[in-house]
Protein backbone atom coordinates (compact mmCIF):
# COMPACT_ATOMS: atom_id res chain seq x y z
CA UNK A 1 0.00 0.00 0.00
CA UNK A 2 3.07 2.26 -0.23
CA UNK A 3 2.40 5.59 -1.87
CA UNK A 4 -1.36 5.20 -1.58
CA UNK A 5 -3.23 8.49 -1.28
CA UNK A 6 -5.55 8.21 1.69
CA UNK A 7 -8.74 10.02 0.78
CA UNK A 8 -12.49 9.61 1.09
CA UNK A 9 -13.92 8.31 -2.21
CA UNK A 10 -16.99 10.42 -1.56
CA UNK A 11 -15.85 13.85 -0.29
CA UNK A 12 -19.42 15.19 -0.36
CA UNK A 13 -20.28 12.79 2.49
CA UNK A 14 -17.46 14.25 4.59
CA UNK A 15 -18.45 17.83 3.78
CA UNK A 16 -22.12 17.23 4.69
CA UNK A 17 -21.19 15.71 8.07
CA UNK A 18 -18.82 18.60 8.81
CA UNK A 19 -21.39 21.20 7.67
CA UNK A 20 -24.00 19.71 10.03
CA UNK A 21 -21.49 19.74 12.90
CA UNK A 22 -20.66 23.39 12.26
CA UNK A 23 -24.36 24.28 12.07
CA UNK A 24 -24.87 22.74 15.51
CA UNK A 25 -21.92 24.69 16.94
CA UNK A 26 -23.13 27.97 15.42
CA UNK A 27 -26.64 27.55 16.85
CA UNK A 28 -25.34 26.65 20.33
CA UNK A 29 -22.84 29.53 20.17
CA UNK A 30 -25.49 32.03 19.10
CA UNK A 31 -28.01 30.97 21.75
CA UNK A 32 -25.38 30.88 24.51
CA UNK A 33 -23.90 34.23 23.67
CA UNK A 34 -27.00 36.38 23.34
CA UNK A 35 -26.48 37.22 26.99
CA UNK A 36 -22.80 38.26 26.62
CA UNK A 37 -22.96 41.89 27.69
CA UNK A 38 -19.68 42.33 29.55
CA UNK A 39 -16.05 41.27 29.29
CA UNK A 40 -16.71 38.87 32.19
CA UNK A 41 -19.44 37.15 30.15
CA UNK A 42 -17.18 36.95 27.12
CA UNK A 43 -14.10 35.45 28.76
CA UNK A 44 -15.33 33.43 31.71
CA UNK A 45 -18.95 32.78 30.69
CA UNK A 46 -20.19 35.05 33.50
CA UNK A 47 -18.25 32.77 35.93
CA UNK A 48 -21.41 30.69 36.11
CA UNK A 49 -20.77 27.38 34.37
CA UNK A 50 -21.84 24.06 35.97
CA UNK A 51 -19.39 21.33 36.99
CA UNK A 52 -20.19 18.65 34.39
CA UNK A 53 -20.34 21.11 31.47
CA UNK A 54 -17.16 22.73 32.68
CA UNK A 55 -15.33 19.44 33.27
CA UNK A 56 -16.21 18.24 29.76
CA UNK A 57 -15.27 21.63 28.31
CA UNK A 58 -11.91 21.55 30.14
CA UNK A 59 -11.20 18.15 28.61
CA UNK A 60 -12.28 19.28 25.12
CA UNK A 61 -10.14 22.42 25.32
CA UNK A 62 -7.19 20.29 26.29
CA UNK A 63 -7.76 17.54 23.72
CA UNK A 64 -6.58 19.24 20.60
CA UNK A 65 -6.46 18.04 17.05
CA UNK A 66 -3.25 16.34 18.19
CA UNK A 67 -5.38 13.59 19.74
CA UNK A 68 -6.62 12.57 16.32
CA UNK A 69 -3.62 13.42 14.19
CA UNK A 70 -0.39 13.99 16.06
CA UNK A 71 -0.19 11.70 19.09
CA UNK A 72 -0.80 8.47 17.24
CA UNK A 73 1.91 9.50 14.75
CA UNK A 74 4.42 10.04 17.53
CA UNK A 75 3.43 6.71 19.12
CA UNK A 76 4.19 5.19 15.71
CA UNK A 77 7.59 6.89 15.79
CA UNK A 78 8.64 6.91 19.47
CA UNK A 79 6.38 4.07 20.72
CA UNK A 80 6.07 3.60 24.50
CA UNK A 81 8.21 6.59 25.66
CA UNK A 82 5.75 8.93 23.97
CA UNK A 83 2.83 7.26 25.77
CA UNK A 84 4.66 7.73 29.09
CA UNK A 85 5.17 11.39 28.19
CA UNK A 86 1.51 11.90 27.31
CA UNK A 87 0.05 10.24 30.43
CA UNK A 88 1.03 13.05 32.81
CA UNK A 89 -0.70 15.71 30.70
CA UNK A 90 -3.88 14.73 32.57
CA UNK A 91 -2.40 16.47 35.64
CA UNK A 92 -2.89 19.94 34.15
CA UNK A 93 -6.35 20.88 35.43
CA UNK A 94 -6.08 19.10 38.82
CA UNK A 95 -2.74 20.84 39.53
CA UNK A 96 -3.97 24.23 38.28
CA UNK A 97 -7.05 23.87 40.50
CA UNK A 98 -5.23 22.95 43.70
CA UNK A 99 -2.12 25.13 43.30
CA UNK A 100 -3.63 28.40 42.13
CA UNK A 101 -6.92 28.03 40.25
CA UNK A 102 -9.22 28.41 43.21
CA UNK A 103 -7.20 31.38 44.51
CA UNK A 104 -7.42 33.17 41.17
CA UNK A 105 -11.12 32.27 40.89
CA UNK A 106 -11.62 33.89 44.32
CA UNK A 107 -9.77 36.97 43.08
CA UNK A 108 -12.06 37.20 40.03
CA UNK A 109 -9.21 37.06 37.48
CA UNK A 110 -9.98 36.70 33.76
CA UNK A 111 -6.60 35.20 32.92
CA UNK A 112 -3.34 34.30 34.67
CA UNK A 113 -1.79 37.55 33.43
CA UNK A 114 -4.59 39.47 35.12
CA UNK A 115 -3.20 38.07 38.40
CA UNK A 116 0.37 38.91 37.32
CA UNK A 117 -0.68 42.54 36.73
CA UNK A 118 -2.24 42.91 40.18
CA UNK A 119 0.63 41.07 41.83
CA UNK A 120 3.71 42.38 39.99
CA UNK A 121 2.57 45.51 38.17
CA UNK A 122 2.13 46.64 34.59
CA UNK A 123 5.61 45.95 33.13
CA UNK A 124 5.78 42.34 34.32
CA UNK A 125 2.23 41.66 33.17
CA UNK A 126 2.84 43.04 29.69
CA UNK A 127 6.00 40.92 29.32
CA UNK A 128 4.06 37.85 30.50
CA UNK A 129 1.13 38.72 28.22
CA UNK A 130 3.43 39.01 25.18
CA UNK A 131 4.94 35.58 25.92
CA UNK A 132 1.45 34.17 26.44
CA UNK A 133 0.26 35.55 23.10
CA UNK A 134 3.24 33.77 21.50
CA UNK A 135 2.31 30.54 23.32
CA UNK A 136 -1.36 30.82 22.31
CA UNK A 137 -0.53 31.57 18.67
CA UNK A 138 1.90 28.60 18.49
CA UNK A 139 -0.86 26.44 19.90
CA UNK A 140 -3.58 27.89 17.64
CA UNK A 141 -1.26 27.56 14.66
CA UNK A 142 -0.96 23.80 15.28
CA UNK A 143 -4.76 23.46 15.25
CA UNK A 144 -5.16 25.59 12.12
CA UNK A 145 -2.57 23.52 10.23
CA UNK A 146 -4.23 20.30 11.38
CA UNK A 147 -7.67 21.45 10.24
CA UNK A 148 -6.38 22.53 6.82
CA UNK A 149 -4.37 19.30 6.42
CA UNK A 150 -7.47 17.26 7.25
CA UNK A 151 -9.49 19.02 4.57
CA UNK A 152 -6.64 18.83 2.08
CA UNK A 153 -5.74 15.18 2.39
CA UNK A 154 -9.09 13.67 3.10
CA UNK A 155 -11.52 15.73 1.08
CA UNK A 156 -9.16 16.83 -1.70
CA UNK A 157 -9.55 20.56 -0.95
CA UNK A 158 -6.27 22.44 -1.63
CA UNK A 159 -4.43 23.32 1.62
CA UNK A 160 -4.55 27.13 1.31
CA UNK A 161 -8.19 27.18 0.12
CA UNK A 162 -9.22 24.95 3.03
CA UNK A 163 -7.17 27.03 5.43
CA UNK A 164 -8.90 30.29 4.43
CA UNK A 165 -12.46 29.00 4.04
CA UNK A 166 -12.58 26.90 7.18
CA UNK A 167 -10.24 29.21 9.11
CA UNK A 168 -12.66 32.11 8.61
CA UNK A 169 -15.73 29.98 9.45
CA UNK A 170 -14.08 28.86 12.68
CA UNK A 171 -12.82 32.30 13.67
CA UNK A 172 -16.29 33.71 12.95
CA UNK A 173 -17.93 31.12 15.16
CA UNK A 174 -15.57 31.81 18.07
CA UNK A 175 -15.91 35.59 17.73
CA UNK A 176 -19.70 35.31 17.71
CA UNK A 177 -19.83 32.64 20.42
CA UNK A 178 -17.53 34.04 23.15
CA UNK A 179 -16.73 31.87 26.15
CA UNK A 180 -20.29 30.91 27.05
CA UNK A 181 -20.81 29.60 23.53
CA UNK A 182 -17.38 28.05 23.53
CA UNK A 183 -17.97 26.32 26.86
CA UNK A 184 -21.33 24.82 25.89
CA UNK A 185 -19.94 23.87 22.50
CA UNK A 186 -16.76 22.45 24.00
CA UNK A 187 -18.85 20.18 26.24
CA UNK A 188 -20.77 18.93 23.18
CA UNK A 189 -17.49 18.61 21.29
CA UNK A 190 -16.03 16.46 24.08
CA UNK A 191 -18.91 14.00 23.74
CA UNK A 192 -18.42 13.98 19.94
CA UNK A 193 -14.65 13.49 20.33
CA UNK A 194 -15.10 10.60 22.75
CA UNK A 195 -17.73 8.84 20.64
CA UNK A 196 -16.06 9.45 17.28
CA UNK A 197 -12.76 8.16 18.58
CA UNK A 198 -13.69 5.21 20.76
CA UNK A 199 -16.59 3.58 18.83
CA UNK A 200 -14.75 3.42 15.48
CA UNK A 201 -11.67 2.12 17.36
CA UNK A 202 -13.83 -0.72 18.70
CA UNK A 203 -14.90 -1.55 15.15
CA UNK A 204 -11.27 -1.51 13.95
CA UNK A 205 -10.24 -3.83 16.79
CA UNK A 206 -13.10 -6.20 15.96
CA UNK A 207 -11.98 -6.28 12.31
CA UNK A 208 -8.42 -7.09 13.37
CA UNK A 209 -9.73 -9.88 15.58
CA UNK A 210 -9.15 -8.39 19.04
CA UNK A 211 -11.33 -9.92 21.74
CA UNK A 212 -11.75 -6.79 23.82
CA UNK A 213 -13.27 -4.64 21.04
CA UNK A 214 -16.25 -3.73 23.27
CA UNK A 215 -14.01 -1.62 25.56
CA UNK A 216 -11.11 -0.42 23.39
CA UNK A 217 -9.29 1.86 25.90
CA UNK A 218 -7.99 -1.03 28.03
CA UNK A 219 -8.96 -4.44 26.61
CA UNK A 220 -6.34 -5.23 23.98
CA UNK A 221 -4.02 -7.52 25.97
CA UNK A 222 -4.76 -10.44 23.63
CA UNK A 223 -2.85 -8.56 20.90
CA UNK A 224 0.28 -8.23 23.07
CA UNK A 225 1.89 -11.64 22.25
CA UNK A 226 1.61 -11.04 18.48
CA UNK A 227 3.00 -7.52 18.97
CA UNK A 228 5.94 -8.82 21.02
CA UNK A 229 6.65 -11.41 18.35
CA UNK A 230 6.70 -9.06 15.39
CA UNK A 231 8.01 -5.95 17.17
CA UNK A 232 9.79 -7.00 20.38
CA UNK A 233 11.02 -3.45 21.07
CA UNK A 234 7.57 -1.82 21.23
CA UNK A 235 7.40 -1.76 25.04
CA UNK A 236 11.04 -0.65 25.55
CA UNK A 237 11.50 2.53 27.56
CA UNK A 238 14.49 3.47 25.29
CA UNK A 239 15.56 6.53 27.30
CA UNK A 240 17.23 7.18 30.66
CA UNK A 241 15.41 8.27 33.86
CA UNK A 242 16.69 11.80 33.13
CA UNK A 243 14.55 11.93 29.97
CA UNK A 244 11.49 10.81 31.94
CA UNK A 245 12.27 13.33 34.69
CA UNK A 246 12.56 16.20 32.18
CA UNK A 247 8.87 15.68 31.35
CA UNK A 248 7.97 17.21 34.76
CA UNK A 249 9.47 20.71 34.28
CA UNK A 250 8.62 20.82 30.57
CA UNK A 251 5.07 19.53 30.46
CA UNK A 252 3.70 19.11 34.00
CA UNK A 253 4.83 22.60 35.09
CA UNK A 254 4.42 23.88 31.53
CA UNK A 255 0.71 23.08 31.53
CA UNK A 256 0.35 25.20 34.69
CA UNK A 257 1.24 28.27 32.65
CA UNK A 258 -1.17 27.69 29.76
CA UNK A 259 -3.64 30.59 29.79
CA UNK A 260 -6.52 28.88 27.99
CA UNK A 261 -6.57 26.01 30.50
CA UNK A 262 -6.47 28.16 33.60
CA UNK A 263 -9.31 30.28 32.21
CA UNK A 264 -11.56 27.21 32.32
CA UNK A 265 -11.20 27.10 36.13
CA UNK A 266 -12.44 30.70 36.36
CA UNK A 267 -15.61 29.89 34.45
CA UNK A 268 -16.82 27.74 37.37
CA UNK A 269 -19.90 28.95 39.23
CA UNK A 270 -18.19 28.41 42.61
CA UNK A 271 -15.01 26.99 44.13
CA UNK A 272 -16.81 23.75 44.95
CA UNK A 273 -18.03 23.53 41.35
CA UNK A 274 -14.45 24.12 40.08
CA UNK A 275 -13.29 21.17 42.20
CA UNK A 276 -16.10 18.93 40.92
CA UNK A 277 -15.25 19.94 37.34
CA UNK A 278 -11.68 18.70 37.96
CA UNK A 279 -13.07 15.24 38.83
CA UNK A 280 -15.13 15.07 35.61
CA UNK A 281 -12.13 16.30 33.66
CA UNK A 282 -9.88 13.52 35.04
CA UNK A 283 -12.44 10.82 34.29
CA UNK A 284 -13.28 11.76 30.71
CA UNK A 285 -9.72 12.72 29.77
CA UNK A 286 -8.36 9.45 31.19
CA UNK A 287 -10.90 7.57 29.08
CA UNK A 288 -10.01 9.32 25.82
CA UNK A 289 -6.25 9.34 26.52
CA UNK A 290 -6.32 5.58 27.16
CA UNK A 291 -8.21 5.13 23.88
CA UNK A 292 -5.51 7.18 22.15
CA UNK A 293 -2.79 4.84 23.42
CA UNK A 294 -4.91 1.91 22.23
CA UNK A 295 -5.24 3.55 18.78
CA UNK A 296 -1.46 4.05 18.65
CA UNK A 297 -0.95 0.42 19.72
CA UNK A 298 -3.42 -0.84 17.11
CA UNK A 299 -1.70 1.35 14.48
CA UNK A 300 1.73 -0.12 15.27
CA UNK A 301 0.15 -3.59 15.47
CA UNK A 302 -1.51 -3.17 12.06
CA UNK A 303 1.72 -2.01 10.41
CA UNK A 304 3.73 -4.79 12.09
CA UNK A 305 1.37 -7.71 11.57
CA UNK A 306 -1.37 -6.83 9.06
CA UNK A 307 0.73 -5.68 6.11
CA UNK A 308 -0.46 -2.06 6.22
CA UNK A 309 2.26 0.36 5.19
CA UNK A 310 2.02 3.95 6.35
CA UNK A 311 4.67 6.27 4.94
CA UNK A 312 6.38 8.75 7.27
CA UNK A 313 4.55 11.67 5.62
CA UNK A 314 1.23 9.98 6.32
CA UNK A 315 2.01 9.13 9.97
CA UNK A 316 -0.11 12.03 11.23
CA UNK A 317 -3.15 10.46 9.59
CA UNK A 318 -2.88 7.08 11.32
CA UNK A 319 -6.29 7.27 13.03
CA UNK A 320 -8.05 8.20 9.80
CA UNK A 321 -6.13 5.63 7.75
CA UNK A 322 -7.10 2.81 10.13
CA UNK A 323 -10.72 3.91 9.75
CA UNK A 324 -10.42 4.04 5.96
CA UNK A 325 -8.99 0.52 5.93
CA UNK A 326 -11.31 -1.20 8.39
CA UNK A 327 -14.52 0.87 8.61
CA UNK A 328 -17.19 2.06 6.12
CA UNK A 329 -16.75 5.53 4.63
CA UNK A 330 -19.53 7.16 6.64
CA UNK A 331 -17.71 6.16 9.85
CA UNK A 332 -14.53 7.84 8.60
CA UNK A 333 -16.59 10.96 7.82
CA UNK A 334 -17.77 11.01 11.44
CA UNK A 335 -14.20 10.53 12.67
CA UNK A 336 -13.14 13.53 10.57
CA UNK A 337 -15.96 15.54 12.19
CA UNK A 338 -14.59 14.44 15.58
CA UNK A 339 -11.09 15.55 14.60
CA UNK A 340 -12.39 18.94 13.46
CA UNK A 341 -14.35 19.26 16.74
CA UNK A 342 -11.17 18.60 18.71
CA UNK A 343 -9.30 21.29 16.76
CA UNK A 344 -12.20 23.70 17.09
CA UNK A 345 -12.57 23.51 20.87
CA UNK A 346 -8.86 24.00 21.46
CA UNK A 347 -8.67 26.79 18.93
CA UNK A 348 -11.57 28.61 20.58
CA UNK A 349 -9.77 28.33 23.94
CA UNK A 350 -6.58 29.72 22.37
CA UNK A 351 -8.29 32.59 20.59
CA UNK A 352 -10.31 33.60 23.64
CA UNK A 353 -7.06 33.62 25.61
CA UNK A 354 -5.50 35.88 22.94
CA UNK A 355 -8.59 38.15 23.13
CA UNK A 356 -8.35 38.39 26.91
CA UNK A 357 -4.57 38.94 26.79
CA UNK A 358 -4.74 41.78 24.27
CA UNK A 359 -7.87 43.58 25.47
CA UNK A 360 -7.68 42.98 29.23
CA UNK A 361 -4.00 42.46 29.94
CA UNK A 362 -2.41 44.91 27.52
CA UNK A 363 -4.87 47.58 26.32
CA UNK A 364 -6.96 47.86 29.50
CA UNK A 365 -3.72 47.89 31.53
CA UNK A 366 -2.28 50.76 29.54
CA UNK A 367 -5.63 52.61 29.28
CA UNK A 368 -7.60 51.66 32.39
CA UNK A 369 -10.39 54.22 31.85
CA UNK A 370 -11.97 52.76 28.71
CA UNK A 371 -15.63 51.80 29.05
CA UNK A 372 -16.97 48.26 29.44
CA UNK A 373 -18.54 48.46 25.98
CA UNK A 374 -15.29 49.53 24.27
CA UNK A 375 -13.34 46.87 26.17
CA UNK A 376 -15.77 44.18 24.99
CA UNK A 377 -15.53 45.43 21.42
CA UNK A 378 -11.70 45.38 21.57
CA UNK A 379 -11.98 41.80 22.87
CA UNK A 380 -14.03 40.72 19.84
CA UNK A 381 -11.56 42.45 17.49
CA UNK A 382 -8.58 40.83 19.27
CA UNK A 383 -10.12 37.33 19.04
CA UNK A 384 -10.75 37.89 15.35
CA UNK A 385 -7.25 39.25 14.68
CA UNK A 386 -5.64 36.39 16.66
CA UNK A 387 -7.51 33.96 14.41
CA UNK A 388 -6.43 35.78 11.27
CA UNK A 389 -2.80 35.81 12.50
CA UNK A 390 -2.85 32.04 12.99
CA UNK A 391 -4.43 31.56 9.54
CA UNK A 392 -1.73 33.72 7.91
CA UNK A 393 1.09 31.97 9.80
CA UNK A 394 -0.30 28.60 8.71
CA UNK A 395 0.05 29.48 5.00
CA UNK A 396 3.68 28.31 5.20
CA UNK A 397 3.36 25.64 7.88
CA UNK A 398 6.37 24.42 9.87
CA UNK A 399 7.18 20.74 9.40
CA UNK A 400 6.01 19.83 12.91
CA UNK A 401 2.54 19.82 14.43
CA UNK A 402 2.49 18.27 17.92
CA UNK A 403 6.13 19.17 18.51
CA UNK A 404 5.36 22.90 18.22
CA UNK A 405 2.43 22.56 20.63
CA UNK A 406 4.54 20.76 23.23
CA UNK A 407 7.33 23.34 22.83
CA UNK A 408 4.74 26.00 23.66
CA UNK A 409 4.04 24.16 26.95
CA UNK A 410 7.68 24.66 27.97
CA UNK A 411 7.59 28.36 27.10
CA UNK A 412 4.52 28.79 29.31
CA UNK A 413 6.30 26.82 32.04
CA UNK A 414 9.31 29.12 31.91
CA UNK A 415 7.73 32.55 31.50
CA UNK A 416 4.39 32.27 33.31
CA UNK A 417 4.08 29.31 35.70
CA UNK A 418 6.80 30.35 38.21
CA UNK A 419 5.34 33.88 38.41
CA UNK A 420 1.90 32.54 39.27
CA UNK A 421 2.91 29.69 41.58
CA UNK A 422 5.45 31.69 43.61
CA UNK A 423 3.26 34.81 43.42
CA UNK A 424 0.31 33.01 45.00
CA UNK A 425 2.32 31.25 47.72
CA UNK A 426 5.15 33.67 48.70
CA UNK A 427 4.60 37.27 49.75
CA UNK A 428 8.23 38.24 49.13
CA UNK A 429 8.02 37.66 45.36
CA UNK A 430 8.17 41.06 43.69
CA UNK A 431 8.17 42.64 40.25
CA UNK A 432 11.96 42.73 39.86
CA UNK A 433 12.15 39.00 40.44
CA UNK A 434 9.20 38.39 38.13
CA UNK A 435 10.64 40.44 35.26
CA UNK A 436 14.09 38.80 35.65
CA UNK A 437 12.57 35.31 35.73
CA UNK A 438 10.29 35.81 32.75
CA UNK A 439 12.78 37.63 30.49
CA UNK A 440 15.99 35.68 31.29
CA UNK A 441 14.22 32.31 31.55
CA UNK A 442 12.30 32.95 28.32
CA UNK A 443 15.43 33.99 26.42
CA UNK A 444 17.40 30.94 27.62
CA UNK A 445 14.54 28.62 26.61
CA UNK A 446 14.30 30.15 23.14
CA UNK A 447 18.11 30.16 22.63
CA UNK A 448 18.58 26.47 23.50
CA UNK A 449 15.62 25.42 21.32
CA UNK A 450 16.58 23.98 17.92
CA UNK A 451 14.39 26.54 16.11
CA UNK A 452 16.53 29.68 16.52
CA UNK A 453 20.15 28.50 16.79
CA UNK A 454 20.14 24.86 15.66
CA UNK A 455 23.74 24.40 16.86
CA UNK A 456 22.97 25.48 20.45
CA UNK A 457 21.00 22.57 21.89
CA UNK A 458 21.35 20.47 25.03
CA UNK A 459 20.92 16.90 23.75
CA UNK A 460 21.22 16.82 19.96
CA UNK A 461 18.24 14.43 19.93
CA UNK A 462 15.88 16.32 17.66
CA UNK A 463 12.51 15.33 19.16
CA UNK A 464 13.73 15.85 22.75
CA UNK A 465 15.07 19.33 21.94
CA UNK A 466 12.16 20.17 19.65
CA UNK A 467 9.52 19.32 22.25
CA UNK A 468 11.37 21.57 24.70
CA UNK A 469 12.08 18.76 27.20
CA UNK A 470 15.79 19.58 27.52
CA UNK A 471 15.31 23.36 27.29
CA UNK A 472 12.63 23.45 29.97
CA UNK A 473 14.67 21.26 32.32
CA UNK A 474 17.29 24.04 32.27
CA UNK A 475 15.14 27.17 31.94
CA UNK A 476 12.23 26.39 34.31
CA UNK A 477 14.45 25.96 37.41
CA UNK A 478 16.49 29.04 36.42
CA UNK A 479 13.25 30.99 36.26
CA UNK A 480 12.27 29.85 39.78
CA UNK A 481 15.74 30.68 41.14
CA UNK A 482 15.78 34.18 39.59
CA UNK A 483 12.28 34.97 40.83
CA UNK A 484 13.09 33.99 44.41
CA UNK A 485 16.69 35.28 44.68
CA UNK A 486 16.15 38.61 42.88
CA UNK A 487 12.98 39.27 44.90
CA UNK A 488 14.74 38.42 48.17
CA UNK A 489 17.67 40.74 47.44
CA UNK A 490 15.69 43.68 46.01
CA UNK A 491 13.28 43.59 48.99
CA UNK A 492 16.30 44.34 51.18
CA UNK A 493 17.63 47.30 49.17
CA UNK A 494 16.17 50.43 50.87
CA UNK A 495 16.46 52.53 47.71
CA UNK A 496 14.01 50.27 45.88
CA UNK A 497 11.34 50.23 48.60
CA UNK A 498 9.44 53.14 47.02
CA UNK A 499 9.17 51.21 43.73
CA UNK A 500 7.56 48.18 45.38
CA UNK A 501 3.96 47.71 46.53
CA UNK A 502 4.63 45.43 49.46
CA UNK A 503 1.51 46.18 51.52
CA UNK A 504 -0.96 45.74 48.67
CA UNK A 505 0.83 42.51 47.62
CA UNK A 506 0.40 41.13 51.13
CA UNK A 507 -3.29 42.09 51.21
CA UNK A 508 -3.87 40.52 47.78
CA UNK A 509 -2.30 37.19 48.78
CA UNK A 510 -4.28 36.94 52.03
CA UNK A 511 -7.50 37.80 50.19
CA UNK A 512 -7.14 35.28 47.36
CA UNK A 513 -6.53 32.50 49.88
CA UNK A 514 -9.83 33.44 51.54
CA UNK A 515 -8.54 35.33 54.60
CA UNK A 516 -10.18 38.53 55.79
CA UNK A 517 -7.28 39.52 58.07
CA UNK A 518 -3.50 39.76 57.63
CA UNK A 519 -0.96 37.65 59.51
CA UNK A 520 2.77 38.01 59.00
CA UNK A 521 3.45 34.26 59.38
CA UNK A 522 1.28 33.29 56.44
CA UNK A 523 2.81 32.66 52.95
CA UNK A 524 6.15 34.04 54.11
CA UNK A 525 8.44 31.02 54.47
CA UNK A 526 12.11 31.77 53.76
CA UNK A 527 12.93 28.10 54.37
CA UNK A 528 10.39 27.01 51.74
CA UNK A 529 11.86 29.50 49.26
CA UNK A 530 15.39 28.32 50.10
CA UNK A 531 14.49 24.66 49.54
CA UNK A 532 12.91 25.59 46.18
CA UNK A 533 16.12 27.38 45.14
CA UNK A 534 18.30 24.40 46.14
CA UNK A 535 16.14 21.84 44.31
CA UNK A 536 15.94 24.10 41.25
CA UNK A 537 19.73 24.56 41.21
CA UNK A 538 20.19 20.79 41.33
CA UNK A 539 17.80 20.25 38.41
CA UNK A 540 19.39 23.03 36.29
CA UNK A 541 22.92 21.59 36.84
CA UNK A 542 21.64 18.10 35.96
CA UNK A 543 20.15 19.51 32.73
CA UNK A 544 23.58 20.88 31.74
CA UNK A 545 25.31 17.52 32.25
CA UNK A 546 25.58 15.13 29.25
CA UNK A 547 22.27 13.47 28.29
CA UNK A 548 23.91 10.45 26.65
CA UNK A 549 21.41 10.35 23.78
Amino acid sequence: MEGQSWQLDNPILGLVVIALTFLLFYVVGYISNRKSSSAKDLYVGGANVGAITNGLAMAATYMSLATFLGITALILQLQVPFIMLWIQLILAIPLITIIYGTSLRRMGAFSPTHFIRDRYGVTASIIAALFMILVSIMYALGQMIGIAVTFETLLGIPYVTGLFIFGFIIVGYITIGGMAGATNNAAIQMVIIALMFILPLGAIMKAIGAEGWYFPPLLYADMVPAMLESLPTFFDYQFSPKWYFSIIPALTIGALGLPHLAMRVYTASSLKSARSAMVWFAFILGLVFSATYAMGFVGVFATATQGITISEADADKLTIILNLVYNPEWVTALVIAGAISAGLSTLSGNLLAIGALISQDIIATLKPNISQRVSLRIGFVAIFLGGIASILLAIEPPAFLVVSILWAFGLAGVTNAPLIIVGVWWKEANKFGAIAASVVGGIIYIVVSPFVFPSIVLTGHSVTDGMGLSGAMLAVPISFILLIVVSYITNRIPGLASKLTKQSDIELIERIHGWTDIKSYRYNSTIGAGITVLISAGVAIWALMPWGM
Binding site: I87, L91, T97, V224, Y244, I247, T252, G514
Partner: protein
Protein backbone atom coordinates in the same frame (compact mmCIF):
# COMPACT_ATOMS: atom_id res chain seq x y z
CA UNK B 1 -2.88 29.13 62.22
CA UNK B 2 -4.39 25.64 61.97
CA UNK B 3 -6.27 26.15 58.72
CA UNK B 4 -3.27 27.92 57.15
CA UNK B 5 -0.93 25.04 58.00
CA UNK B 6 -3.45 22.55 56.63
CA UNK B 7 -3.81 24.54 53.41
CA UNK B 8 -0.02 24.67 52.80
CA UNK B 9 0.56 21.02 53.72
CA UNK B 10 -2.43 19.88 51.64
CA UNK B 11 -1.15 21.74 48.59
CA UNK B 12 2.42 20.43 48.88
CA UNK B 13 1.51 16.77 49.53
CA UNK B 14 -1.33 16.73 47.04
CA UNK B 15 0.92 18.25 44.33
CA UNK B 16 3.60 15.63 45.00
CA UNK B 17 0.99 12.83 44.98
CA UNK B 18 -0.41 14.01 41.63
CA UNK B 19 3.08 14.30 40.08
CA UNK B 20 3.98 10.82 41.33
CA UNK B 21 0.77 9.17 40.12
CA UNK B 22 1.01 10.89 36.73
CA UNK B 23 4.70 9.99 36.25
CA UNK B 24 4.84 6.29 37.17
CA UNK B 25 6.89 5.84 33.96
CA UNK B 26 9.74 7.74 35.67
CA UNK B 27 9.69 5.25 38.58
CA UNK B 28 9.79 2.28 36.17
CA UNK B 29 12.66 3.87 34.22
CA UNK B 30 14.65 3.76 37.50
CA UNK B 31 13.36 0.34 38.65
CA UNK B 32 12.55 -1.69 35.52
CA UNK B 33 10.63 -4.95 35.78
CA UNK B 34 9.61 -7.77 33.42
CA UNK B 35 6.39 -8.49 35.31
CA UNK B 36 3.12 -8.85 33.38
CA UNK B 37 -0.26 -7.59 34.65
CA UNK B 38 -3.62 -8.26 32.93
CA UNK B 39 -1.69 -9.61 29.92
CA UNK B 40 0.34 -6.40 29.46
CA UNK B 41 3.91 -5.64 30.56
CA UNK B 42 3.54 -3.96 33.99
CA UNK B 43 5.80 -1.10 32.84
CA UNK B 44 3.19 -0.31 30.16
CA UNK B 45 -0.19 -0.79 31.80
CA UNK B 46 0.50 0.39 35.37
CA UNK B 47 1.43 3.97 34.31
CA UNK B 48 -1.69 4.06 32.07
CA UNK B 49 -4.01 2.82 34.85
CA UNK B 50 -2.46 5.15 37.44
CA UNK B 51 -2.63 8.04 34.97
CA UNK B 52 -6.36 7.49 34.67
CA UNK B 53 -7.85 5.93 37.82
CA UNK B 54 -5.08 7.05 40.18
CA UNK B 55 -5.47 10.67 39.10
CA UNK B 56 -9.28 10.34 39.16
CA UNK B 57 -9.26 9.10 42.78
CA UNK B 58 -6.83 11.87 43.78
CA UNK B 59 -9.14 14.52 42.28
CA UNK B 60 -11.99 13.16 44.46
CA UNK B 61 -9.76 13.35 47.55
CA UNK B 62 -8.38 16.79 46.61
CA UNK B 63 -11.89 18.14 46.01
CA UNK B 64 -13.16 16.92 49.38
CA UNK B 65 -10.17 18.18 51.41
CA UNK B 66 -10.04 21.48 49.49
CA UNK B 67 -13.70 22.18 50.29
CA UNK B 68 -13.16 21.30 53.94
CA UNK B 69 -10.14 23.62 54.23
CA UNK B 70 -12.17 26.46 52.66
CA UNK B 71 -14.83 25.94 55.32
CA UNK B 72 -12.18 25.97 58.06
CA UNK B 73 -10.72 29.23 56.74
CA UNK B 74 -14.23 30.72 56.76
CA UNK B 75 -14.74 29.54 60.33
CA UNK B 76 -11.41 31.06 61.47
CA UNK B 77 -12.37 34.31 59.74
CA UNK B 78 -15.73 34.34 61.52
CA UNK B 79 -14.26 33.64 64.94
CA UNK B 80 -11.73 36.40 64.29
CA UNK B 81 -14.39 38.97 63.39
CA UNK B 82 -16.44 37.92 66.44
CA UNK B 83 -13.49 38.43 68.79
CA UNK B 84 -12.88 41.83 67.17
CA UNK B 85 -16.48 42.77 67.89
CA UNK B 86 -16.06 41.72 71.52
CA UNK B 87 -12.91 43.86 71.75
CA UNK B 88 -14.80 46.76 70.19
CA UNK B 89 -17.46 46.60 72.88
Amino acid sequence: MKAYKKEVQFTIWMTLAFILVGNVGLIFSIFPTDAMIFGFPAMYIVPILMGWFGVFILTLVAGKIGNRIDDEIDRENESLSESDEVKGV
